[in-house]
Amino acid sequence: MTPAVEADGLGKQYGSRVALDSLTFSVAAGEVLGVLGPNGAGKTTAIRVLTTILPASRGRFSVAGVPHTRAADIRRLVGVLPESAGYPARQTGEEYLRYFARLFGYSRASARVLAEALLAQVGLSERRTSLIAGYSRGMRQRLGIARALVNDPQVVFLDEPTLGLDPAGQRQVLALVRRITAERGATVLLSTHLLAEVEQVCSRVLILNRGRLAAEGTVSEISRRAAAPRSARLRVSAENVDRARATLGGSAGIEHVEPGDGQVGSLIVMLDGPGSPTSMNDGLRALADADVPVLSFELEGARLSDAFLAMTEEA
């Protein structure tokens, strides 16, 4: 099946400054891809190149099966919410969406119907005849998402859609993102700083750093690959806590053991140096040999945030 987005050796340069370098990835149809990276990593540049706003300096790409040489055709098939997009203050939300619908080829009558439907979908029906100047930031972002859906796109690019929103606004926007994929079957590329968003919504993640691809994969793949678990949480019976601490303290690979908070008998085991999923094996064997029953055990793996920091700080 043709990927929804495919990039091969994509590069973008401004004079001597390299904004994107040899970016190669693909996104399957219907996927929600998170694009992560620190400031200046090239996320917005990548989106602008893929949506034909900026010309690529090198490489090739295709969107919805349309090659990069047919920019106007790509624009008909994508919807974009740019980062920090502006809105005309003196237009109403309805007027704004009608205008863009007409720019995408809708007649006056169908543009009106479409605008009403989209405003309902993003929860702005009641404010459709209000001037955009009176919209809150969250409302403007929802209006921007509605505008990105005007042409019923196959691929939707959302650049920092929750930027500047309060938690409630962020939740609303993320819910919309989920609906876009669920109800429309569109492919979504979501660029964001908020790792929690990516963990909630995205099936796969790209991490960019200084214009290059630092990592690509599912959230758990990246977490596992980038950083090993550093601690474990286990529970023993209350009377065995001291014995368990003494046994584990003498095992290889374990730095120290401290009481866990919350449940009785809970212990937190800090691993010695960068561990691995098998780091606790010696400790668990020692406990078994010492006849200390383990009531529960959980290896606390590195979170996506740890993987992100590890990949972007080291580079």
Partner: protein, 269 residues
Amino acid sequence: MAASARTMSKRHRRGWAIVGEQELRDLWLGGRGLLLALAFSVLVSVIAYLTATNQALNFLEQRESVNLTLQVAIAMGSLLALLAAADAVSGERERSTLESLLLTPVSRLDLTGGKLVAALSLWLAAFVITIPYVWFLGRGIDLVADAVITGVVVGTLLAVFLASLGIVISIFANSNRVSLSVSLFLLLAIFAPTQLPSSAQKGWAGELLLRVNPLTAGEHYAGKILVNGHSWSEDISWLISPIVAAAVFSAIAAIVGARCIRLGRGATE
């Protein structure tokens, strides 16, 4: 709404008309155009009142008053068109609304065309507002028709020239402030020859300067018809530079608009 339900209208192929219509709505229903028209009408009212109530007005001075009113309309109407055009692209850039427009299938040329239409509407409005004043001042001396026709021809040529110039500046300027400053500076430079003493305007060099400058050439042509009663063809050579300026700069605006509209130097990450 499924793609199959989309109704492709003929207007999809005339993107400039859709852009132009929305720009006109924003300009006039948004209020800015009406405020500019109001300010213009106050200016013309003051001039017309001072002229008309001058009891010592002789016949020639009445012709000159019609000419003066029309010249003010042409100058101010063209200025308004220039200022609107100077905001066309750089204003969108500053308000962060340009990117969304560039993401639509509408060509950059259509975008430029639509904005030019909106800018020229300010000239048209200024001229329409001026007609009643010209009618009042000129009806006693059978000058109304000549004044209206002269105004339409000369004013439209100059408005097209200046609006096209404004759009070109707007496309390259990174901020609205730069765009408006450069536009006003160029306008002042174009108006400067009108302030030369009459002795400097005589002679081959002075006349060449007046002929080459579209504003002074247009002003001269209108004056000869309205004040001196010349026929349309007698001084037709003075219309060459306004015609050439309008044609050349609208072509430049079309070429530049089609190829050079960018998000701007700040559009990187």
